[in-house]
Amino acid sequence: MTKSNIPFNKFYKLFNILSLFLILISFLLLIFKGLNFGVDFKGGTLIEVRSLDKSLNISDLRKSFKNLDLGDVSVKKFGKDNDYVVKFEKKQSIEENFIENIKIELRKDIGNVFEFRRVESVGPKVSAELLKSGVIAIALSLGAMLIYIWIRFEWQFSLGAIAALFHDIIITLGFFSMLSLEINLSIVAAVLTIVGYSMNDTVVIFDRVRENLKKFSDIKIYDITNISINETLSRTIITSMTTLLALLSIFIFGGAILKGFSFAMILGVIVGTYSSIYIANPILIRLNVTQKTILKEEKE
């Protein structure tokens, strides 16, 4: 079997410009368009309705919900043809008979041809707390990764790895903003998993960079990174393939609830694999990592 010898390093500049461009667009999207927060983080109520009558269509449902005076109501198709998700922002706290009253009113309006499959109601205080703990969780995991990698590697490497992580998170969120996909609790879980996966991928290449720095005393870091990427390339491809196979299976067969979650993760795996090669490595070069960097650390 022959090892691949693709000149990845030739394209560092090109892809760095592309990444900067994507990050810039993501930032602009996040600032001007913002994220589509779900009820977990914004507060409000979500009802998954299944219609039992084929003739009941989305505009009927929208009209009946609009009549209920619930504030801003959105009705969307969800998964199967006859399933819908209704979301609205209820300003005051959740009343006891609130859902029951909606059911009664709806029955009056369109008849008993629907069922509520799922109800999620989150008060403003709880949603603020969930948002806070989500942000803390992501910040904390980034911090923990930074510390771990700092202990295991030299600081130049940790900077490279963390830059790659930020790159992945920002671009994934940028995609979510662009496509107006909902951000809920499971997306936070997905982002954290992306952080773990991207780190994992970067660490594999960095380990090899380090090993090769010790092995070849006369090769510059520019080429060392390329050798290392090539040497680990088949692993990178195989692992991202199997992970993507698993994620695609969740995305296609796992039901509507897991769609956003698995989509975020598919996106993250692709971006994470790319950033391990094209963000993490060029940073080692920019920071002038040499054979000495490794030796210094080892002497200490």
């Binding site: 499959r117 904390l140 609790l185 954290l192 780190m199 692993r235 393939m241 992970t243 039901g255």
Partner: protein, 518 residues
């Protein structure tokens, strides 16, 4: 790295078989006496309701401050310390003034470990109230721990009442837990319509009997309250004849004379005496029955009620009478509660989620297994056997701890399937490199294992860190994801380094002379 002692082989095999047995016992009960544990299904999979209630402690706080004020007044009077200008500021501060010559002695009485009137909490090293003296003005404010103490005591009372109410309705295996010091979490598996429970939990159920009065200037004061159905208003005295505390039983009944649904009740001895006295002196008056500040009904007292039993009439349906009786039997909440978060999943959605989860697990698993076999042939087979035992180990551990499996948890398992092969891939790719420079196959395999080890550990620890943080900070279903992901990493490391390595070693030692081994 390829050598295994007999003892090690036996331990690995026993450990794997035992956990596999645990995981399989979820699907078929083999021997109930030996192992009874099961994986729990989360509410999102079995259907059910999750309610988070928050206690509004402000009325309790107000009440406690009032009581404290009266206590302090009495205390100062007993100590013969003259005081003036007692008042309560913003419902949270007691303030009063003392003549100059008593300032030191009074402040000594109100602070420190031995204060009779301001209890000292040894474990927090602080008093119930913080004392601030400005000139001759004293100010007492709840200390941080005084507040916590107050909140947790009302939480303890409330959780007891919530438990009673939920038990009375009779759902299966409810889960009622404290959250923080002013919240209560209620999980009701299998309940797809929580509306009745919600309306019962939201009621304080503070029942009082008070006279209706025309006379606005009564010594206890009066207030204007509306009827429950909103039809009318009435002026009632603030003097409480009887409260729900004196009730020992309440039941819904059909009154045979009027053909109306009523709630009958029995009073304890003290209550019966009070009730008899009030109804004797008050014949001809109207007695209002008030629940949470609204009048249920205000019947005329026709004759004294001395037996300690009575009935509440009102515009009841049988359901509402049953609910009122239930609320009265289980007692009043110390403070009002609000539902601040609700998540309800119907049972068929739960079943659909289970089906979708299992389908995607089977498909994801099959794809990964096929991919590995095509790519690595015999070693792919080893990786696949490892993957199966990995899944069994993962389920076994979850069973052992009776963990809760959620829909994102299933996603975590599928993701583990995808990422678990990574370790074996890293090892095999490394071996392929080593074999080029090393003629001795066994040595090549050995160094492949050794050289990839730190990379594998690094890579897995990073994911494990993410999983642990998510487990600690995540809530509900997301916690389930973190759990399966985290346990999945551990079971992966075990199966790669013990099961897969064992199989690889056996195979390589037998076939070391084969030309193209990997």
């Amino acid at each position: 790295m390829l050598y295994f002692s007999k003892l090690k082989i036996i331990s690995v095999v026993i450990f794997t078989l035992l956990l596999s047995y645990f995981s399989l016992s979820n699907f078929t009960k083999i021997d109930d006496d030996f192992f009874k544990k099961n994986i729990n299904l989360g509410l999102d999979l079995q259907g059910g309701s999750y309610l988070l209630l928050e206690i509004d402690n402000s009325p309790v706080l107000e009440q406690q401050i009032q009581n404290k004020l009266i206590q302090i007044k009495k205390f100062l009077k007993d100590k013969k310390i003259p005081y003036k200008n007692f008042n309560i500021i913003d419902d949270k501060k007691i303030s009063f003034e003392i003549n100059n010559e008593f300032i030191d002695s009074t402040s000594n009485l109100l602070k420190g470990k031995d204060s009779e009137i301001n209890p000292y909490y040894d474990q927090f090293k602080t008093n119930q109230f913080e004392l601030l003296v400005v000139g001759n003005r004293f100010e007492l404010t709840y200390s941080r721990y005084g507040l916590i103490q107050l909140k947790s005591s009302s939480q303890n009372q409330a959780i007891e009442i919530v438990r009673r109410r939920v038990d009375e309705i009779g759902t299966n295996e409810p889960n009622i837990l404290k959250r923080g010091n002013d919240r209560i979490l209620v999980e009701l598996p299998g309940l797809d319509n929580p509306d009745r429970i919600k309306s019962l939990l939201g009621k304080t159920a503070n029942l009082t009997f008070r006279f209706v009065t025309q006379n606005e200037e009564e010594s206890f004061g009066t207030e204007r309250l509306s009827f429950l159905d909103g039809s009318d208003e009435s002026i009632v005295s603030k003097r409480i004849i009887l409260s729900g505390d004196n009730l020992i039983d309440a039941q819904p009944r059909m009154d045979s004379e009027s053909n109306q649904t009523v709630v009958t009740f029995n009073l304890d001895r003290v209550g019966a005496k009070k009730f008899a006295r009030a109804t004797t002196t008050g014949v001809g008056k109207k007695l209002a029955i008030i629940l949470d500040g609204q009048i249920i009904s205000a019947p005329n007292i026709v004759e004294p009620i001395v037996g300690g039993a009575g009935q509440i009439t009102g515009d009841f349906t049988f359901q509402s009478a049953t609910d009122l009786a239930l609320l009265l039997r289980s007692g009043a909440l110390p403070a009002p509660m609000k539902i601040i978060e609700e998540r309800t999943v119907g049972p068929d959605l739960g079943q659909d989620s289970i089906n979708a989860g299992i389908l995607s697990l089977i498909i994801g698993f099959t794809l990964v297994v096929l991919f590995m076999f095509v790519k690595y042939k015999i070693f792919g087979l080893i990786a696949n056997i490892t993957l199966i035992s990995n899944l069994l180990l993962l389920l076994g551990v979850l069973t052992l701890f009776e963990a809760t499996l959620t829909l994102p948890g299933i996603a975590g398992i599928i993701l583990t399937v995808g990422m678990a092969v990574d370790a074996n891939v890293l090892i095999y790719e490394r071996i392929k490199e080593e074999i080029k420079n090393e003629n001795n196959k066994i040595l090549a395999f050995d160094s492949g294992y050794v050289k990839s080890r730190s990379t594998i550990l690094d890579a897995n620890i990073t994911t494990l860190i993410a999983a642990i943080i998510l487990f600690l900070l995540g809530s509900g279903p997301v916690k389930g994801f973190a759990l399966t992901l985290g346990v999945g990493i551990l079971s992966t490391l075990f199966s790669v380094y013990f099961i897969a390595r064992l199989m690889t070693a056996q195979y390589v030692i037998k076939n070391k002379d084969k030309e193209k081994l990997i």
